[in-house]
Symmetry: C2
Subunit: 302 residues, 2 copies
């Protein structure tokens, strides 16, 4: 009843990450995992799917696919100010290629170790390549950062250099991106430490997956406010002139956008103040105090 490489063997060989820590009474290998949440903390849960050719280039390295699949989920936890704890992996594969699985497993282990999260369960199925990860974290009750808390007068910040993933994708489509820029597309770094540093300080936060303007728009909508961004304050470190389309509407950055009470010093991370929350709904752009008009094309999954 067993083929040489059946589902169970596949799981056992590549995804038997060591857990056995105190917060995982039972990990991979039973019908479900048993997990112990710290007393008094809330569970934080999110899930994201990556489909080949849509969320990562066809023929990407398995290592990078795994990394990005986990990173985008940890980024969501970071945006809530959660401590990442566990994750489950649902992996759909056209075939069970041991080399591919080994590389995938290495990428997953690398980011999991770096982020102190444990693989506690999953499923492998045959089909078109697609990865769904569910990330689970926790935080002291009532300390989550949501999209709802932005207040008029708040300073708006963004971490890192949004737009670089979009630049990398454009270069790739034009024939190849340099390794440095390419890493911004393939191996986004979830801003977990920044998220934790924002606990009790930020009024609102979101991670940027669909473009800064669109994701900031979710904060504005949820908080019932508007904003004005100073285009001259948008972070940029490329040799060419700033590409506002990439910065404001490029997807796949996984930086954090957040608001702080006016004048409050930001945490000691690489963040940039880019604008201010206003009472009037909508998102406006300005340069030197003058309105700027820009027709942004946003990132759409559908």
């Amino acid at each position: 009843m067993n083929s040489p490489l059946d589902e169970f063997e596949l799981i056992r060989r590549h995804f038997s990450f060591a857990t056995a820590q105190e917060d995982v009474p039972l990990g991979v290998g039973d019908d479900a995992a048993l997990l112990r949440l710290p007393a008094g903390e809330w569970l934080v849960a999110c899930t994201d799917t990556l489909v080949e050719g849509r969320h990562f280039p066809v023929a990407s390295r398995a290592y990078d696919i795994a990394w990005k699949s986990l990173a985008v989920n940890l980024s969501d936890l970071a945006a809530m100010a959660a401590t990442p704890r566990w994750f489950l992996l649902a992996l759909t594969l056209p075939e069970a290629d041991p080399d591919w699985l080994s590389d995938f497993s290495a990428g997953l282990r690398a980011l999991a170790a770096q982020s102190a999260v444990q693989l506690v369960g999953g499923d492998t199925t045959r089909g078109p390549l697609s990865i769904t990860i569910t990330a689970l974290g926790s935080l002291p009750q009532g300390q989550a950062l949501t999209r709802r808390g932005a207040q008029v007068g708040d300073d708006i910040y963004v971490s890192g250099y949004p737009g670089e993933a979009a630049l990398a994708l454009r270069d790739l489509q034009a024939g190849g991106a340099g390794a440095g820029l390419r890493a911004r597309l393939d191996r986004p770094v979830p801003r977990i430490g920044l998220g934790l540093a924002l606990r009790g300080r930020a009024h609102a936060a979101i991670d940027i997956s669909d473009g800064l303007a669109q994701d900031l728009g979710h904060i504005l909508h949820a908080s019932g406010v508007g904003a004005c961004l100073d285009v001259q304050a948008l972070p940029w470190r490329q040799p060419a002139a700033p590409d506002l389309q990439a910065i404001l509407a490029g997807g796949d950055d996984y930086e954090l956008c957040f608001t702080l009470p006016a004048g409050q010093a930001p945490p000691d991370h690489e963040v940039h103040r880019i604008g201010r929350i206003e009472a009037e709904p909508g998102l406006r752009l300005a340069a030197g105090g003058q309105p700027v008009s820009l027709d942004l094309r946003g990132y759409q999954h559908f």
Copy 2:
């Protein structure tokens, strides 16, 4: 920046299930959900993917696809004796068809309501049809049913009538299954109540997704024991003679197989005693005390 039916609108329209219950401080609509676990309980988590053409027939009703996607996950929670609480939905669709989504949503709502679980998060992506659900439940710490606890002398039980899903699939492939049998394939009923009734009583449990013999084999392997099944005791209610291949190796039943201390009365559910745990490793079949040999073809995902 918004198309008439973008991702966010899609989610909002079809998957804004009411939550707002005390155990969901924040549900669908932020970067992650916030969930409140009962004090002193452990979290129970599992994930399963269904791929079109592999886990459900092409052109299945969206209602049934949704039902089954949730049911197979709740079945895993049931096998741990967990109380189901929440789930996250990762839905990959070739196109955003409002009718299909409406039917899918109805199926999901129906089983969710019946099982008292709440949709608290998810992701929609474009790609080949596939559904990954992550189910979250809880149980008093230390009260989980695992695959590891079977003891020599235990009675082995199975719920319901395993094999009927395989019969339905066979009929379907031969031109059509009757509605009654077809429901066994399309709308499995997770045995949540039975799982709860087994808390503190059963030594080991598993849900049957890959066939009774193979899944019981996981209990035997994990517990370091063997078993003998009485083929004459295997439950069967079809007009034709019992189909041992279907009963023992048919997949997709989502019944529970569990062991009870010898002679202990089973809970008041539709369950059947089918054999006994023995010290000698391996799974044996017998009829009237005589060994039976049977070449089973198991269900393989890969």
